[in-house]
Amino acid sequence: MSSLRAPGPRGFSRRTLLAASTAGLALLAAGCTSAPTDQRERVTGEQADQLLGQVGVQETLVAAYTAAGAADPVLAGEVAELAVQAGEQLTRLRAAAPGATPAAVSPGTPPSPGEARSWLRAQVATAATSHATACVRQSGARAALLGSISAGLRGQDGRLA
């Protein structure tokens, strides 16, 4: 009977891989990278402006959750956890974007009750695409954060389908 364990120290077992990833990402989550002057962590003016723009995108999405919930109270209960996560994403984006301040935004025309779900799903997909586009143009921890948020919203999009 062959062992399910990796045969030797060469390479990575799944456990060791996850341990290594966790160690590296703990630093990433804390906003640290291996070298403070790393090229990847240098922010151009364009990148800084773009990151502020992504804060606005996320603020619009958070407002969309509120508007959809107001239009359809049943939906509001169903997506409460998703709305909380969108808020968590906004908090992380603001922390990564120096100078970002809370702003009152409108997601546009509020949906009718019968259209609230599809309208909200479109808002989520739009935000995910916007963050993905910005992710590719950023680098370092900013790219990682935007990519993670975009992926999280893709998951939300699937949940709303």
Partner: protein
């Protein structure tokens, strides 16, 4: 100064390659793990595991090709991997699939952090997004809540 810039660029690419190697190792583990997942699922549900395995194979092949273009020796798959818990039921299988996809997500977020080029970020973003979408389905199948994550891989 030009030499400093060249050294810095080489260092950046070395960091990117190292992160790609970890992501490739995670993909190898996921491909292997989905064999265990599929075996523990009901026959009607095995197609989902097969699709997920195919997606991981595709990402694995793309990462392998990218490293090969750079003359970097890619990490090889192991013959077997240690399971984190016994996989004896469809719920166990779904929970293992969540572990696999979450591990892959963490590795690709690391690539995003270390990437020196936009092309690599596009590859990483696609792999990360696919992993999280699949993970949402597996978390639901495993009875885990919440089924979505605000910041997958971080």
């Amino acid at each position: 100064m030009a030499d400093d810039g060249a050294d810095e660029g080489a260092q950046d690419l070395a960091a990117e390659n190292a992160a790609l190697g970890l992501a490739l190792a995670a993909a190898h583990a996921a491909v292997w793990g989905y064999g265990v997942v599929g075996a523990a699922l009901e026959p009607a549900a095995r197609g989902t595991a097969g699709s997920a395995e195919a997606a991981q194979r595709d990402v694995r092949d793309r990462a392998t090709a990218l490293l090969a273009e750079r003359s970097v020796e890619p990490p090889r798959a192991q013959g077997a991997y240690a399971l984190p818990f016994p996989v004896l039921s469809p719920v166990d299988a779904a929970a293992l699939a969540v572990v696999l996809e979450d591990g892959v997500s963490a590795a690709w977020v690391r690539v995003l952090d270390q990437a020196a080029g936009a092309g690599t970020r596009e590859l990483a973003l696609g792999a990360l997004s696919g992993a999280e979408v699949r993970a949402v389905g597996w978390r639901a199948a495993a009875g885990q809540t919440p089924v979505t994550r605000a910041l997958p891989g971080l």
